[in-house]
């Protein structure tokens, strides 16, 4: 009947909430063949992760409910199988990389243990499992693999955690890999390695890859076919280049048109007194030197982007700025005062002016607060910002600005998709109208159309209100469009800094050059060409 490896037919998923029923996925059908890569593109919140969860039997029922459909794997309907049969499939035949690695890793077990567990539960001998775990960790490019196995999730950077998830999913060489935004937190060089690894596996085992992503470049690089989703429905499907070049659905068209990296580059417009000057910031975790003397200057109304290797200390740097991590050395001058020298109490009034969007937004939202409470908390703390009577309108306004609905204010964080949560975190940062916003991968989980909208919003705020941004991103085209200055980091040190134009047009350091060269183009044909060139290079 079916010769597809995996076929989803008429899948509908809905959630019961206090505010009513949310139809997350509506009548979705697609299929995946052996050795094929199917990319699911779509608006943030369009039901991509939910349909993937349905395949893995991970939807909480209730409050979730699969109202219709079947998921055929090997000719069997997964939805009809017993829990035990599903368990046999999960991890071994079908594996999944979760969108949000921090909360999906068990905080109290070493990552090596967690990777090896996948193999142990499916009957691999523990010693063998450990050896393979080590190999996997090495393959995904974690430094010091042997030590990494012993460490706990919180001791890794965002990108490193994502790679751990990948290693975990690849452990048993599954028939199908569902990768939900597997490379959002990876810099382009590492991303290239990881994609290569996937490709290699695919070639080796004929693995089917279901790739959920926002990054058109990644789609162009890897996907054979594309499914585009919007508001829980499939709006378009077809071969990758076909969809890119001849999009039929208006949403798809908008999406492709929104691909970043086409705007004017900026030369930097630093004027007046610097808002923030960080000098010689160092941080050591035990014997590991995460920051080795980093300088950073931000002027009012300016965007400084930090790009660089995953694990190079970007998040650490900004966390020292907001004093979540105490630096080992260095100073940060803000309004003439050294932030690092302040007591936490003195720091409090300053915090109003420096807001941060965390790299893992899910964990940064209190699960017991509604979105309204999450956002309005800022005004509860700093009473003079918005008068209480206007909270409702202001929350609604902020949510709308980041592309959410006012009604969402009544929901709780767990009822949102990854990208939606990221936008909530942005809205929260905006709520205080600070002088400086630190965005740690703030737009990485957004599809390009929403991304463009958010970036436009931020840019407008920058211009109108003079808000400065520290913008950590791996997505070079976004940086190119948005930043005034760029700082390139590697292994805890700044390897290069300059205006956006300088960096993009005239990179000096080797690392920057590699970085720029590894960037992916959203056009599948361009990518195909590049791939062919690379292959020649390797062969030669």
């Amino acid at each position: 009947m079916t010769d597809h490896l995996l076929e989803v037919r008429n899948l509908s998923v809905r959630f019961h909430t206090a505010a009513g029923i949310v139809d997350a996925v509506r009548n979705v059908s697609w299929h995946l063949d052996r050795g094929e890569t199917l990319a699911i593109l779509g608006e943030s919140g369009s039901g991509k992760s939910v349909s993937a969860s349905a395949i893995m039997n991970l939807i909480d029922i209730p409050p979730g409910e699969i109202t219709s459909g079947e998921i055929l794997f090997d000719g069997n309907d997964l939805l009809q199988q017993t829990a035990e049969e599903r368990r046999q499939v999960n991890g071994k035949r079908i594996a999944m990389i979760f969108q949000d690695p921090l909360s999906h890793l068990n905080p109290v077990y070493p990552v090596g243990w967690q990777i090896a567990e996948t193999m142990r539960v499916h009957g691999k001998d523990p010693a063998e499992a450990n050896a393979r775990a080590l190999d996997l960790v090495r393959r995904v490019g974690l430094p010091n693999p042997q030590q990494a196995l012993e460490k706990y999730p919180h001791q890794f950077s965002g990108g490193q955690r994502q790679r751990i998830m990948i290693a975990m999913a690849l452990a048993l060489k599954p028939d199908i890999l569902i990768a939900d935004e597997p490379t959002t937190a990876l810099d382009v060089t590492v991303q290239a390695e990881v994609l290569a690894l996937l490709e290699e596996l695919q070639a080796e085992t004929g693995m089917g890859l279901l790739l959920i992503t926002h990054d058109l470049g990644v789609v162009a690089e890897t996907a054979d076919r594309v499914v585009v989703m919007n508001r829980g429905e499939i709006v378009e499907t077809g071969p990758a280049s076909e969809v890119y070049h001849n999009p039929r659905d208006p949403y798809t068209r908008r999406l492709i048109a929104a691909a970043p990296g086409k705007g004017e580059m900026r030369d930097g417009n630093s004027q007046g007194k610097p808002l923030l000057e960080m000098k010689g910031v160092e941080k050591a975790f035990g014997s590991f030197q995460a920051l080795k003397g980093v300088d950073l200057t931000v002027f009012p109304g300016e965007t400084v982007a930090i790009v660089g290797e995953s694990g190079s200390g970007k998040s650490t740097l900004v966390k020292t700025l907001v004093r979540l991590i105490e630096p080992t050395a260095g100073q940060a001058t803000w309004n003439g005062r050294d932030l690092f020298a302040m007591s936490l109490k003195e720091m409090r009034p300053v915090r109003r002016d420096i807001q941060m969007v965390f790299q893992d937004p899910t964990q940064s939202l209190n699960p017991r607060m509604t979105i309204f409470e999450v956002i309005s908390e800022a005004w509860r703390i700093h009473k003079d910002v918005v008068p209480r009577a206007q909270w409702r309108t202001r929350v609604a306004e902020l949510l709308t600005q980041v592309g959410l609905l006012p009604d969402h204010a009544r929901r709780y964080p767990h009822q949102f998709s990854g990208g939606q949560r990221q936008r909530i975190a942005i809205a929260r940062a905006l709520a205080l109208e600070p002088k400086l916003i630190v965005c740690d991968e703030a737009v990485s989980a957004l599809d390009v159309s929403i991304q463009a909208q958010v970036i436009a919003l931020l840019d407008r705020l920058r211009r109108d209100l003079g808000i400065a941004f520290i913008f950590i991103a791996h997505d070079l085209p976004v940086v190119r469009d948005f930043a005034d200055h760029v700082l390139v980091m590697q292994s805890g040190a700044v390897v290069e800094k300059g205006t956006t134009r300088e960096i993009f047009e005239n990179p000096k350091s080797l690392y920057t050059k590699t970085l720029l060269a590894s960037g992916l183009d959203p056009d599948p044909e361009v990518q195909a060409k590049r791939r062919a060139e690379r292959k020649e290079l390797v062969d030669a």
Binding site: H16, T17, A18, E43, G45, D60, I61, P62, P63, L102, H154, R231, R254, V322, L324, R348, P349, V350, R351, R352, I354, Q355, M356, F358, D360, Q363, S364, L365, N366, P367, R368, T370, F372, E377, A378, R380, I381, H382, R392, T393, V395, A396, E397, L399, T400, Q401, G403, L404, L405, P406, D407, A409, R410, Y412, H414, R428, L432, S449, I450, Q453
Partner: protein
């Protein structure tokens, strides 16, 4: 969704249709166990408030010749349906009347120890190492200080009174709340949303009360509900020393312990008050379990969409 943005009308967030109390009651209605528990507690509170007024006399009228009258006999009137105690007083009336003192002492002691213990524990977990260490060692000391000795000291140094009884009981129970809340704070304070609040400039008080407390509260309340039973029973052993409640004032704990010597031959003397203690504790615990779910947004659907469960 994108459309919503472009249509540049001022967005509005409608007022919530239902007020939170009505929603909570709705959730209570859906959990029949919790509903019964709530009704029972309500009944006990009514007993505590009006019992002594209504049945005070009946409860203290002695009749030595009708002592230890067995339960379930209508011959003496409905007040004697649960039997009579060693002085021939109707047990039912006494239980109703005793509810007042019992509730006062138990809720006083539990509330004090819970509030003080939790507050200290959160300080110990969140404040500087030095302060935390000092508080914890203090907890160690309290933990090793026998409650009976404390009671005897209070008896001798201060006047015996109900207030002092509550103090003694409360002090001895402080360490468990203190240590539990501290342990939880140590973990919760590492969570990212706490850090996010910190970055927003939230004061320590706000972080502790709005972010950490809601996470640790369910555990604390669970312990507190069971402490209710513990305190009710422990109180009678302190009355033995002469502090606190004295006859003819009465509590359930005292009734239970006075019935102790009759346990084998007139079980009803201590059984009914004991049952009252058990049912109260059980109800409180059911309510706390319900509250745990009702206040946890991730779990709340269990109460919102009817009694379906996932097993």
């Amino acid at each position: 969704m994108t459309e919503t943005v472009e249509s540049s009308q001022t967005p509005v967030l409608a007022e919530d249709e239902k007020n939170p109390v009505a929603r909570l009651l709705g959730m209570l209605w859906r959990d029949k166990f919790a509903l019964c528990a709530a009704l029972f507690i309500l009944l006990m509170v009514l007993c505590a408030v009006f019992g002594p007024l209504l049945l005070g006399d009946a409860a203290s009228h002695q009749n030595l010749r009708g002592r230890n009258a067995p339960p379930f006999s209508w011959s003496n009137g409905w007040l004697f349906i649960l039997g009579a105690d060693a002085l021939g007083r109707p047990l039912l009336a006494r239980i109703v009347v005793a509810a007042q003192n019992t509730m006062m002492v138990a809720s006083g002691a539990v509330a004090c120890s819970m509030i003080i213990g939790t507050a200290l524990g959160m300080i110990a977990g969140y404040a500087s190492r030095r302060v935390g260490e000092a508080i914890m060692r203090l907890a160690d000391v309290i933990m090793s200080f026998p409650s009976l000795l404390l009671a005897v000291i209070v008896l001798y140094v201060f006047a015996p009174s109900v207030g002092n009884l509550i103090v003694v009981l409360a002090i001895t129970r402080i360490p468990v709340y203190l240590r539990t809340s501290r342990a939880e704070v140590l973990e919760v304070r590492e969570r990212m949303f706490v850090q996010a609040a910190q970055v927003m400039g939230a004061s320590t008080g706000r972080i502790v009360f709005c972010h950490i407390l809601p996470v640790i509260m369910p555990t604390i309340v669970t312990i507190a509900t069971l402490d209710f039973a513990f305190v009710m029973l422990a109180e009678s052993s302190l009355s033995f020393l002469g502090i606190g409640i004295q006859s003819p004032e009465i509590t359930w704990g005292l009734m239970v312990s006075q019935g102790r010597s009759y346990l084998v031959h007139a079980w009803w003397l201590s059984f009914w008050p004991g049952l009252a203690i058990i049912l109260t504790t059980l109800s409180l615990n059911l309510l706390s379990n319900w509250l745990r779910i009702a206040l946890d947004p991730v779990q709340r659907w269990r109460l919102e969409i009817g009694g379906k469960s996932n097993d």
